[in-house]
């Protein structure tokens, strides 16, 4: 098996006085979709924010593509190829859809190993607009006027503009209609299949998340309590009891 793209070892994070993550270790291999599940306050979002550099770990290592990124600034981590689509989308609402997307490629301007030319950027923009046709329709509209689902697509599109190798997705289905959520999830699978993107996914709807994931980790009060292939987790009685609830979809 090939080397992990992202490897986290013995990570500890304090959030104010709260010990938010305790000795967390996990890894994501290229081309995988890995799902993080757990209750509210288990530390899932904290973990993603720590990977993308928004929160500093107090100890432990985060290795991305062979390099330790645990002390880097968020914008440097994006430049390395690890993009984070935050919870709640956080699009730049007064700016137009097109501007939002262009800003996605901001970190790739100028020199650097992953720098791109103006033509490449235009090309990327075109590709994203093709991938999400709604965004093309609305590319001159202010991002804040989009509906929740459209904003989620914009947030993902914006992250893709940085040509990431790893996408961190935080609650992409939150507050979205079932139909839209399904569409978003379909896109995630497509991204992996067609672009070879690696995805680390946090989602409340554990069933849906595990269905598209290759592997999963269960986080409880800041610790990894269970890990394994998705199928095994879906079948696990404890997991079913705690996170899956009664299945009405299937």
């Amino acid at each position: 098996m090939n080397a992990p793209l992202l490897e986290i070892t013995n990570l500890d994070v304090f959030y104010g006085k709260i010990h938010a993550l305790r000795n967390v270790s996990l890894n994501v291999r290229p081309g995988e979709i890995v799902s993080l599940i757990g209750g509210n306050g288990a530390g899932k979002t904290t973990l993603l924010c720590t990977i993308s550099g928004l929160i500093r770990a107090s100890s432990g290592a985060i290795t991305f593509a062979g390099e330790d990124i645990s002390r880097r600034a968020p914008e440097k981590i994006v430049q390395e190829g690890c993009s984070h689509v935050p919870e709640g989308r956080l699009v730049f609402s007064p700016l137009s859809v097109a501007d939002n997307l262009r800003l996605g490629a901001y970190g790739r301007r100028g020199a650097g190993p992953r720098a791109e030319t103006r033509e490449q950027a235009t090309e990327d923009l075109e590709r994203i607009l093709t991938m999400f046709p709604v965004l093309r329709e609305r590319r001159k509209q202010a991002a804040g006027t989009l509906s929740g689902g459209e904003q989620q697509m914009l947030a993902i599109g914006r992250a893709l503009m940085a040509r990431p190798r790893l996408l961190l997705l935080d609650e992409p289905g939150m507050g979205l209609a079932p139909l839209v959520t399904r569409e978003i999830f379909r896109h995630i699978v497509t991204l992996r299949d067609s672009l070879g993107l690696t995805v680390l996914l946090v989602e409340q709807n554990a069933r849906r998340a595990l269905k598209i994931a290759d592997r999963g980790y269960v986080l409880e009060t800041g610790r990894v309590t269970l890990e394994g292939p998705s199928r095994e987790l879906l079948a696990n009685r404890d997991v079913q009891h705690a996170y899956l609830g009664r299945d009405i979809d299937g």
């Binding site: 509210n40 459209e150 209609a177 409340q204 554990a206 009891h241 899956l244």
Partner: protein, 257 residues
């Protein structure tokens, strides 16, 4: 059939060039749970905003029981017993849990502001009453133990419950719940569903519910209304709506995965 508690007729809301709601009728019966579902951007939150008075509708009338509330400001509607919760939690983070619920009780006991200023006997008595009632509500939703904590220190799921408790503090006749299950995992959602049913039982109120979680909607609602692009495309019992091909096409999607 009982007299509707809330009756909205021909509601129309327009933002600039965008027609957010057009010709929507909604009535909610006492003791019933009415769910409003629909795709994002369909106008569900706008509808709740229009009912609660946060957005002034350009067209339509609103009646709560015998009162015409079409032109009443938001706080007035709340005082008349029409109380809502918010999709993005709007708890009062700089207060304790207890104070949050006491704030919910705000409108019910009227003592002039100057009385509070001078801490008159009446105002102290009122404080005590409010406090006891708030604790009762907290006990009901299971947050009694956490009464003294700062609301912002509560985990997300508990904050959802707090928002519900705060609304109940106002002793509504009609409760508007805006996506109460958003951000909750499935087991938490089940706990919530039971709680909403218990609330209906205990407080004998009508509930209008906007929700995406079909599990919750199907399980607890008596009636479902489906909105799409600002218009009603379907109404009926949960089972009827779930089978409606138009609803499947616009909202539910075919269950392939």
């Amino acid at each position: 059939m009982a007299e509707p508690l809330l009756r909205c007729t021909d509601v129309g809301v327009r933002f600039g060039g965008l027609q957010a709601l057009a010709g929507v009728d909604l009535s909610a019966l006492p003791g019933e749970i009415t769910a409003v579902i629909g795709p994002n951007g369909a106008g569900k939150t706008t509808l709740i905003n229009a009912i609660s008075g946060m957005v002034q509708a350009q067209r339509g009338t609103f009646r709560l029981g015998a009162d015409d509330i079409t032109f009443a400001p938001a706080h007035e509607r709340s005082r008349l017993g029409l109380v809502r919760t918010f999709q993005n939690l709007e708890i009062f983070s700089n207060m304790t849990v207890l104070e949050n619920v006491m704030t919910g009780c705000h409108a019910r006991l009227r003592v002039p502001a100057w009385a509070s200023l001078l801490r008159t006997r009446a105002s102290r008595a009122m404080e005590k009453t409010i406090r006891d009632e708030a604790l009762e509500v907290l006990d009901f939703v299971g947050l009694f133990e956490l009464a003294k904590y700062q609301a912002k220190d509560l985990p997300f799921g508990k904050q959802r419950l707090l928002e519900l408790a705060r609304a109940l503090g106002a002793r509504p006749r009609l409760l508007l719940l805006d996506e109460p299950a958003a951000g909750l995992n499935m087991s938490e959602t089940q706990v919530l569903a039971d709680l909403i049913l218990a609330v209906r039982e205990h407080f004998r109120l009508g509930i209008v519910l906007v929700e995406h979680d079909m599990d919750l909607v199907m399980r607890i609602s008596d009636q479902v209304m489906v909105l799409c692009f600002g218009q009603v495309i379907s109404r009926g019992t949960p089972a009827q709506v779930q089978r409606d091909p138009e609803v499947i096409a616009a909202y539910l999607g075919d269950d392939e995965d």
